[in-house]
């Protein structure tokens, strides 16, 4: 579908120490998503990824990287930093899920409430957000996406190659199964 003249491949390889990863390192196929917590299309993709994980089990490794487009989504940057603040306390995926399950409620009070709900150190969480401690990390993700040819959200990469097709369940599953075969 896409015909950009550059190879649209993941510019920064998945890093076990740095990336947020679900699924085993030796999985047959790796799906990387660049996403924005306030983007409605990413919200639509969220349950699809969950379904793919349920279907494929240990065959699938899933990686999420931040790509907040604040110009369009005023809460996206702070939400991404909230997910990273959760990660700093070992709870990235729980926060990630809460954010996507509550996309319409991403104000500062809401983020604070999600931290309380997770039972993490809320004082530290609030301080991280107020001081934008995780902004450099979010920007790093964002720029790695730009260099990988991300042009909107969500953008998916299957074993490092950009998935330039629909991200409905059947299409993505077929692409993942093909890559895993």
């Amino acid at each position: 579908m896409s015909t950009t003249q550059w190879d649209t491949v993941l510019a920064v390889a998945v890093d076990d120490d740095r990336d947020h990863i679900q699924g085993p390192a030796e999985a047959a196929v790796t799906l990387v998503e660049y996403g924005d917590y306030e983007c409605p299309y990413c919200g639509a993709a969220y349950p699809i990824v969950k379904d793919l994980q349920a279907r494929m089990g240990d065959k699938l490794r899933f990686v999420f990287r931040n790509f907040p487009i604040s110009t369009s989504h005023p809460h996206a940057e702070q939400a991404a930093e909230a997910a990273e603040a959760g990660a700093a306390q070992g709870r990235f995926w729980e926060m990630h899920d809460l954010l996507y399950e509550n996309q319409a409620r991403l104000g500062d009070q809401d983020l604070h409430a999600y931290a309380e709900q997770l039972g993490i150190d809320v004082e530290r969480f609030d301080k991280d957000l107020a001081e934008h401690v995780h902004a450099p990390r979010v920007r790093e993700d964002f720029m790695s996406g730009v260099r990988s040819g991300v042009n909107g959200t969500p953008s998916f990469y299957v074993n490092g190659a950009r998935h330039d097709d629909s991200y409905d369940f059947d299409t993505l599953l077929a692409a993942l199964e093909r890559a895993a075969a």
């Binding site: 579908m1 896409s2 015909t3 950009t4 003249q5 550059w6 510019a11 487009i69 604040s70 110009t71 369009s72 964002f142 720029m143 730009v146 260099r147 990988s148 040819g149 991300v150 042009n151 909107g152």
Partner: protein, 165 residues
């Protein structure tokens, strides 16, 4: 590097071409001309129309990347055939803080000069130009109209300028 033509249109002006001078409105009472940007790199982003979904995403992405472009001392100009009042409303609605030029009268004149006008649609292509400090085209690219070209190509072109490539 501009090997993307899939039909018989001539394709954008190739690297090495002197970028044609233009002067277009950027506000109701101001104009911008190419020659004002001599001495620094310039990115021209031709896009089909204000308000269309892909354009909005593309320009929002470029807005996010203004600090990266500034690292190269590069300026960004958006250009479409829309009138200046549409541009003003569009920029305000989408939080865009770079100039949008109105290639409105004669309609599409600059797009034609840059060989990126789509006569069948009455709009320009979705085309990118990176012009160097001497006013020479260093990179040009036409994206399929429905596809957001992203920004990696722009950044690579700016990097190769810095490297003296």
């Amino acid at each position: 590097m501009t090997d993307t033509a899939v039909d018989n249109r001539p394709g954008p002006l190739p690297p090495g071409t002197e970028a044609p001078e233009f002067r277009l409105p950027s506000t109701p009472d101001q104009t911008v001309s190419l020659s004002e940007f001599r001495g620094r790199p310039l990115i021209l982003a031709f896009y089909p129309e204000d308000w269309s979904p892909v354009c909005s995403d593309q320009l929002a992405l470029y807005q996010e990347l203004l600090p990266e472009f500034q690292k190269f001392n590069a300026e960004l100009l958006g250009i479409s055939v829309d009138g200046i009042w549409s541009h003003i409303a569009f920029a305000k609605d989408r939080n865009l803080h770079f100039p949008l030029l109105a290639d409105f009268e004669p309609k599409g004149d600059v797009a034609r000069t840059y060989q990126v006008y789509r006569a069948t649609d009455g709009t320009s292509e979705r085309a990118l130009y990176v012009i160097d400090a001497d006013g020479i085209v260093r990179w040009s690219y036409v994206s399929p109209v429905g596809i957001n070209p992203g920004a990696d190509g722009i950044l690579r072109a700016l990097e190769s300028l810095e490297e003296g490539g």
